[in-house]
């Protein structure tokens, strides 16, 4: 068990200086998720235009892994098409579960690979992604309505 496998420099950087924190003024769907076992919380906002993630922002309380994961996710999916962002989400899930994954596609997020060796921390890494997937569902429902 190597702590450095988990706490990579880039993770600490995102934990210390989270990107895309805050609020989107208008045109965004908002999702609040919390992890009932540990008390971590996230509010994620997603703005989509023409099928592209125009902006994504979050506010949250959590450990280094959950904050860093949210921060890196926001950087990675911004500007991508929804389809591509959802594919990345699946790729990320695979990596965290310890299954073969195309980590190159995930960019900085690859730093979270070590989480797969710490089963108790998997839910921390997935909180933001679950919020993102929920936000996409809501965004699609809103469009249909």
């Amino acid at each position: 068990m190597q702590l450095d496998d988990l706490y990579r420099q880039v993770i600490m950087d995102h934990y210390q200086h989270p990107r895309n924190q805050g609020q989107i003024e208008d045109g965004a769907v908002s999702v609040h998720l919390h992890n009932p076992t540990c008390g971590d919380e996230i509010t994620l906002q997603l703005a989509v235009e023409d099928g592209i993630v125009r902006d994504v922002r979050f506010k949250g309380i959590g450990c280094s892994i959950s904050i860093a994961s949210a921060s890196m996710m926001s950087e990675t999916i911004k500007g991508k098409s929804l389809e591509e962002a959802l594919e990345l989400a699946e790729e990320f899930h695979r990596m965290i579960r310890g299954e073969p994954a195309d980590t190159e596609r995930l960019g900085d997020l690859e730093a979270l690979q070590g989480v797969s060796k710490f089963p108790a921390r998997v839910k921390c890494a997935l909180l933001a992604w679950n919020a993102f997937e929920r936000a996409v569902q809501e965004q699609r429902q809103e469009r249909r309505a």
């Binding site: 540990c38 971590d40 108790a120």
Partner: protein, 410 residues
């Protein structure tokens, strides 16, 4: 008297290394480890005595029934009950409290009546009363919590009124470690005509408890927190209450006569134990009671008090540690804390790498966490097998966590 090291050696799980280090288990408030005599007793039950209880005519069934009912007697003696028929076997503390709320609570609490609890209750001694109050239009009242995490008797005196039907309180808080003045609260409750229900999940395993001295009406605890197996617990109830309570679970074992359109029940406590009970669990709990009695609950308590004092002293060496709850003397053998600037999950992961197992999270006490203003906390809890060496390992690991994160975070 056994030494700490002798006791530690009786717990097989503590002999294995964890993440390459000596396992330092500091999460006994969540569940305790099991000594060899308990593990062997359960194995012996299944090897030599297993049959269903209370029904077989054959000798083996008699042996199983004797072991099961023998455990009930052991538990009764352990907590000073008048007799074994005041002991209901449950799955654990949660089920015991729910049983009181669902049976007696539903009958005696009406619209506008009051139920008085405290903000430091575990969810299992909060939600049953919250839901009962909602269902009945009753008023749920919380005694105010002092800044040091204690409650004051003058507040209890004021908040418990003639309209109060039930007072429910933790004997020991699983987060703050506060030891509540249950005996005095029972006196106040009774004077106002209310019942008192005590959540003893964190007290019975760690200190001598005498239900007749406390004069509580109900007291619930769990086997797995006191060196026994999981899935077995105890609800103590005064006979005068148990004998007039309706069962909650209907089925086998709990009936006297079943007709097509009506049934009658066995006497308490058996009327509350519908279905085949956790026989091996009860037998294992009986063995745990024997084990703890052999060590002596006074000794267990004194040792934990020494350890928690030592831990509180040593934690002061790290100025970034914030400790929640009352000072030594008013607290049981656990310490809840935060390392400033580091999330408790991260603390727990670094400690785990050092072989030190602590709890991180909200400890099933969300309202209390809000009061503390902390989303989550870390908790180290002690039991009879912990040593000063364990506390030293905790402090060393915390120093590492601090260094690890100060290096990383700056």
């Amino acid at each position: 008297m056994k030494t700490r090291e002798e006791i530690r050696r009786e717990f097989p799980i503590l002999q294995q290394p964890m993440n390459g280090k000596r396992l330092v288990y500091l999460d006994s408030a969540a569940t305790s480890q099991k000594p060899l005599p308990v593990i062997e007793r359960i194995a012996r039950y299944y090897s030599e005595e297993n049959a269903n209880v209370h029904r077989g005519v054959y000798a083996l069934a008699g042996r199983a029934t004797e072991a099961f009912e023998g455990a009930r007697e052991k538990v009764a003696r352990f907590i000073g009950a008048s007799s074994a028929d005041e002991i209901v076997f449950t799955r654990g503390t949660t089920e015991g409290i729910n049983l009181v709320a669902a049976s007696l609570g539903r009958r005696m609490v009406g619209e506008g009546d009051e139920i008085v609890i405290t903000p430091m209750e575990h969810h299992s001694n909060l939600i049953p009363w919250q839901q009962l109050a909602l269902a009945k239009g009753a008023v749920l009242k919380y005694l105010p919590l002092q800044p040091d995490g204690t409650i004051r008797l003058e507040d209890a005196e004021r908040e418990i009124t003639e309209r109060t039907k039930i007072v429910a309180v933790a004997h020991v808080s699983n987060v703050l470690g506060t030891v509540n003045p249950v005996k005095e609260m029972a006196r106040i409750a009774h004077r106002k005509g209310a019942l008192i229900v005590v959540d003893a999940a964190q007290s019975v395993p760690h200190m001598p408890v005498d239900v007749r001295d406390l004069d509580c009406d109900f007291l619930a605890f769990s086997g797995h927190k006191m060196c026994g197996p999981t899935g077995i617990g105890v609800l103590y109830g005064k006979r005068e209450w148990l004998s007039q309570m309706e069962p909650v679970y209907y089925g086998g074992e709990m009936i006297e006569v079943v007709e097509l359109y009506r049934s009658t029940w066995k006497e308490a406590p058996w009327r509350f134990e519908g279905g085949t009970p956790n026989i091996a669990g009860a037998v294992g709990l009986g063995a745990a009671v024997d084990y703890l009695t052999g060590v002596g609950m006074e000794n267990v308590h004194r040792w934990e008090q020494e350890l928690v004092r030592y831990a509180l002293d040593r934690l002061k060496e790290i100025p970034e540690i914030e400790i929640y709850g009352p000072g030594a003397g008013q607290r049981a053998g656990l310490v809840t804390f935060n390392l400033r600037g580091v999330h408790p999950h991260d603390v727990a992961t670094v400690l785990d790498a050092e072989g030190v197992a602590i709890r991180a999270g909200h400890h099933c006490a969300q309202p209390l966490m809000r009061w503390l203003g902390a989303a989550a906390t870390a908790r180290a809890s002690f039991y009879l097998y912990n040593t000063e060496e364990d506390v030293d390992a905790l402090i060393d690991a915390l120093a590492k966590a601090k260094e690890f994160f100060s290096h990383a975070i700056g």
